[in-house]
Symmetry: C2
Subunit: 158 residues, 2 copies
Amino acid sequence: MTSELIPAEFRGNLGFLVAKAKQLLSDELDVALRDSGLQIRHFAVLSLIRRRAGLRQTDLCEVLGVDRTTMVKVVDDLEGAGLLRREPHAADRRAHALQLTEAGEQWHSRTLVPVMDHEQQFLAPLSPGERALLQEMLTRLVDSALVRSADQKLARHP
Amino acid sequence: MTSELIPAEFRGNLGFLVAKAKQLLSDELDVALRDSGLQIRHFAVLSLIRRRAGLRQTDLCEVLGVDRTTMVKVVDDLEGAGLLRREPHAADRRAHALQLTEAGEQWHSRTLVPVMDHEQQFLAPLSPGERALLQEMLTRLVDSALVRSADQKLARHP
DNA sequence: TATTGTTATACTCTATAACTATA
DNA sequence: TATAGTTATAGAGTATAACAATA
């Protein structure tokens, strides 16, 4: 395997490869969403609420790794587009229980198709077995790094 | 392999896994650089110039995927820290030939140690064979996506 | 006291436009 | 005409601080 597009200095460099992979995959997914005016982030939020209706905004922050002040804007965007609703939370009157609207449900399933297509295009150089292996290895790496990250936070606030 | 930290909705999601891997690896590498006040980007620039002395700023832009106005600041930072010099370019008087200083050479080789350590820590969950396989698969994916990206640019400017 | 959501605000990052000096 | 580097500037994205309501 000899790449002519990746500089020789960075061919064996995991950081460079992961960062580039992220950038290029994001670019391709942006294409799939370009008509909607929304971003991957909005799609991810709808994906989560679709499966777990009633989540709070802070629940989403934890998963997506953004501040709650940032999440306000994301939820504003989605509510403004009519794709979700902030409803009163049954157990906590401070919080909002987020719910997909019918339009949100439709937009999500409609958008899932081009998103999956672009992901498949990105993965085209790998065989089905390799794709499964890549996914499994990335899961292991991310899981392990999340554990380390959580440990460090606990160490700072004992 | 069952992860408790990755939400079920995103476990099979390549985009999520790649983005998280990038974020977590970046965070760990930032720790390795925290004392210097510099970023991975600065380290990457020095890595390139070290191997290919005399590169222009625009050469770096292409590899790192940033605009030339952004690169000015990065080179300013490195020059301000005394790690590289802008020298006159022998073949083009508009351009700068970038050269590492002695301090730049030393900082790079000194910083390489913690950077590699943190990368190894990140890769710890994988066996040596798996690491090689991951690197090879990511190289294939990035290479293929770079070709598509270049094709699309050519199609827009025929 | 701590937490949820919100606003206002400041900071960072980035690219576009316009300039100069070259090619 | 086009390109290398620079500056000024505007836009996006993000987090910190402070607040009200509630736990």
